[in-house]
């Protein structure tokens, strides 16, 4: 090699590279990592300091104690969790059979499915709400004499707004689709299903005893992502005038800044815990297979 390129080697400084480069790379890498660590950790530490900093006592955890007794806390959290449960069930019941069908018997539908499940990523949530609220206004405007009007009122029941479940399912579709697609790609669905069918298993049996147990990690990650999404969803709920957890945090922020930051940290830890469980479950699955 060196014999082939004798004229080039000296002036490029190839001998200098082995001695000079590693240290330069290491310094550069250290700076990047330190800056990143400062940028990502400081807001978290600072918001914790903000919540425990008491002008009189110097240190107090009162803000955290107040969370649970704050007005509307339990109600809004319960609403969020209820919405999350309904959304997870609906989105899985809708998506899983469709994705199995696409893999097993209707591969031509695959592009259609892909487009359907990517659309919510392209369309910003706020434009989606603009459309929904226009539709909801049709209720009183045009449909007040028809039986459909009752449906319009029922889906907007503030105790459990079904319209939010519908919106959240649409918003969750891309994430659920990707999680389930990865899960289905990791197992040999066709062989499993055909083997089970040849052994005389019914379709429900195939679903619950063959497909779902094999798809556990995919289903778990889809559910966790949906849960995180619904718990953090603010745009749709706020603009349609409902008050789940994320909207409640903003509502109380005017009255008590320390409390709202404490609730933010609390909800963050909750979400992070879920996502960490999800990511460790994912890696364990990968190393196991």
């Amino acid at each position: 090699m060196a014999a082939l390129t004798p004229t080039v080697l000296p002036d490029v400084g190839a001998p200098a590279a082995p001695t000079g480069r590693p240290r330069r790379v290491r310094v550069w890498r250290g700076i990047v990592l330190v800056v990143a660590a400062v940028y990502f950790l400081v807001p978290l530490l600072a918001s914790f300091v903000f919540t425990v900093n008491d002008p009189v006592q110097g240190f107090s955890l009162d803000a955290y104690g107040e969370i649970f007794s704050a007005e509307g806390f339990g109600q809004s959290l319960l609403l969020s969790l209820g919405l999350a449960a309904a959304t997870i069930v609906t989105v899985l019941v809708l998506t899983l059979p469709a994705m199995l069908a696409v893999r097993l018997s209707a591969p031509r539908l695959r592009p259609v499915m892909e487009i359907l499940c990517t659309l919510p990523l392209v369309v910003p949530p706020i434009t989606f709400v603009a459309g929904i609220s226009t539709v909801l206004r049709w209720g009183p405007d045009y449909l007040s004499t028809t039986p459909l009007y009752q449906t319009f009122i029922a889906v907007q029941n503030p105790a459990f707004p079904v319209v939010l479940v519908i919106a959240d399912v649409v918003l969750a579709l891309p994430f659920v689709y990707r999680a389930l697609d990865a899960g289905l790609g990791a197992m040999d669905v066709r062989t499993l299903v055909e083997a089970a069918r040849n052994c005389g298993a019914s379709w429900p049996h195939v679903m619950f005893r063959v497909v779902i147990p094999n798809l556990k990690s995919g289903l778990a990650s889809a559910s966790f992502l949906t849960l995180a999404l619904v718990l953090g969803e603010y745009t749709v709920a706020r603009l349609l005038g409902f008050q789940p957890f994320s909207v409640w945090i903003v509502t109380i922020s005017g009255a008590n800044a320390a409390l709202s930051v404490a609730v933010s940290i609390f909800s963050l830890l909750l979400t992070w815990l879920l996502l960490l469980v999800l990511s460790t479950a994912g890696t364990r699955q990968r190393s196991g297979s």
Binding site: V122, P124, G131, T134, Y234, L276
Partner: protein, 297 residues
């Protein structure tokens, strides 16, 4: 000869049964996918039609008056503000994210890599209201750092264009790390060695090998970050209110009735503008993703 010819048509009907069986099978596939399609058609289609209809109607007749209005004055400022902010966040986030990813990928410590990737997965999903409050507590007017370092005296304000960009980077950089790490892993060490053996400097390696291979993933990442920042509403609403003109804030304002009577449909026209911008950006992304997938096998 004649015999083989006659058997051929005879062979055709023999192929028929599996064919019909296949189509019956396909019919079954359709039915299982039907509920999802119906649901998306209704839950997504009806609002979309309502939006389009509203955006192009004014006083009950078809017109482009709303669209024209949505591209004028304060609305145009907001739309441009959103595009500017998203572009800044996308480019800065992509550059910083790539540097961070490269630092992690070339590191010898496996634990560091795992930690950064896990943290990125978590932080990339960290948007919305809690993010805004964490930053308000840190660098807001009475934030911890603002009061300790007297940043207020130096003209610092979190509730500004640059403050918003700083906050948006908090979820954009981790997203970029997630996007670009597989691509950086795909840069084979052999390519670098080959370049070095041919006498290329580090700069030449990146200029002629590294960057061209990474370009699709990098641009794809820029597009994703742009989309995320462009659509973000909760963080901006909780942080700046209406101090910084953003199209999402304008739409929310118009939707909640903060608009002249007879101009309610401007919100829909603005939404339409947003979808057009987001759609254009995504149209760039999809082919890029396909191209970058080629290198990651």
């Amino acid at each position: 000869m004649a015999e083989t010819l006659t058997t051929a048509p005879a062979g055709l009907p023999a192929e028929e049964p599996p064919k019909t069986g296949g189509s019956r099978h396909r019919a079954k596939g359709w039915t299982a996918a039907l509920p999802l399609m119906l649901f998306v058609g209704l839950a997504f289609g009806i609002p979309a039609i309502a939006l389009l209809g509203g955006a192009f109607t004014s006083d009950g007749s078809l017109s482009t008056a709303n669209l024209t209005e949505s591209l004028q004055g304060a609305y145009l400022t907001a739309l441009l503000g959103s595009v500017k902010l998203s572009a800044l966040v996308a480019v800065a986030g992509a550059v910083l994210g790539t540097f961070l990813a490269q630092a992690v990928v070339t590191s010898r410590f496996r634990a560091l890599r795992e930690a950064v990737l896990t943290a990125s997965g978590v932080l990339a999903n960290f948007g919305g209201v809690p993010l805004a409050f964490a930053w308000i507590a840190t660098l807001g007017n009475s934030g911890v750092l603002t009061s300790r370092l007297n940043l207020g005296d130096h003209g610092w304000s979190l509730y500004s264009f640059w403050g918003l960009a700083l906050v948006y980077l908090y979820f954009s950089v981790p997203l970029m790390v997630l996007v670009v790490v597989p691509a950086l892993d795909g840069l084979r060490p052999q390519w670098r060695e080959a370049a070095q053996n041919n006498g290329a400097s580090a700069w030449q390696f990146w200029r002629y090998v590294g960057i061209p291979v990474l370009t699709p993933s990098l641009l794809g990442g820029v597009v994703l970050l742009f989309g995320g920042a462009f659509a973000a509403y909760a963080t901006a609403a909780a942080m700046v209110g209406t101090v910084v003109p953003l199209v999402t804030l304008q739409i929310a304002d118009a939707l909640t009735g903060n608009v002249l009577i007879g101009h309610e449909n401007v919100a829909l026209a603005l939404s339409f503008d947003m979808i057009v911008v987001a759609g254009l950006v995504m149209a760039v992304y999809l082919p890029l993703q396909r191209r970058s997938a080629r290198w990651l096998r």
